[in-house]
């Protein structure tokens, strides 16, 4: 991948992920509103992987790579070696369900699905690989 960052699996490191996505996309002239949405979607996936696949274990690491094909698409690849957590198999609850159950989770994947054009999840050796594609 052309742009890469590796963080340890702590929720406080999500800010490093956001700064990295912001800085990378700004060099390609992606507009601020669009960048903000993409930062959010990547943050949501990374937060899920840090919490659910790696149990916030700072001894574990997560790697994010970004490739931008100007005028075509942006590819985000997130790799970690935690337990398998296939976000594409997770059914996002409806807003009504979230309100009536007073639950605080479940919105993240809904956001990712609405922001990205394609979400894929694969497992390779001991790695989870989550690929997000945004068409430009």
């Amino acid at each position: 991948m052309k742009h890469n960052i590796t963080i340890s699996c702590s929720k406080t490191n999500l800010t490093l992920i956001r700064d990295f996505v912001n800085a990378t996309l700004s060099t390609y002239g992606i507009n601020e509103i669009e960048t903000h949405k993409l930062v959010l979607a990547v943050d949501e996936v990374c937060a899920n992987l840090i919490i659910h696949a790696n149990q916030c274990n700072t001894g574990q690491h997560l790697e994010l790579g970004i490739d931008v094909a100007p005028g075509s698409q942006i590819l985000f690849v997130i790799r970690d070696n935690g337990t398998v957590f296939d976000i594409t198999k997770y059914n996002a609850p409806s807003l009504d369900e979230i309100v009536s159950s007073k639950r605080k989770g479940g919105l993240g994947l809904l956001l990712v699905k609405r922001i990205m054009d394609k979400i894929e999840f694969t497992t390779e050796k001991n790695h989870n690989i989550c690929t997000l594609i945004k068409n430009l």
């Binding site: 949405k37 979230i98 009536s100 479940g106 809904l110 956001l111």
Partner: protein, 113 residues
């Protein structure tokens, strides 16, 4: 990092949220809203200085909706930047929450009988 302050005037509590609310910091927003419901039944949430909110923060607002209804608490959010407003819009949260541009508009709505 998020910084949350509040003050009460004429029985209306205003909560000011500054910075970023994410999976790491949403607990502070949760605690602030919990305290607010206990102290007042009219709450204004000032988001002028909110730079970022992820689902963890949005979930906090939604999770308290039912309880607010049951307790007759009125809450209105105002002053979102365009970037933040778009995030609420992606999920259609304008339908569930009271959101206005200005403090005056929010005040008028929570003061309605």
């Amino acid at each position: 990092m998020v910084e949350i302050t509040s003050n009460t005037e004429n029985n209306i509590m205003e909560i000011v949220i500054k910075g970023e609310v994410d999976a790491s910091s949403s607990i502070h927003l949760d605690n602030a809203l919990e305290s607010a419901f206990k102290a007042s039944d009219k709450i204004l949430v000032n988001l002028h200085k909110l730079d970022y909110i992820s689902s963890a923060g949005l979930g906090v607002f939604i999770a308290h909706l039912q309880e607010m209804k049951e307790k007759g608490v009125k809450m209105a959010l105002f002053g979102m930047t365009e970037k933040v407003r778009q995030v609420f819009a992606i999920l259609g949260l304008e339908e569930l929450l009271t959101i206005t541009s200005t403090k005056e508009e929010s005040l008028a709505l929570i003061n309605e009988a």
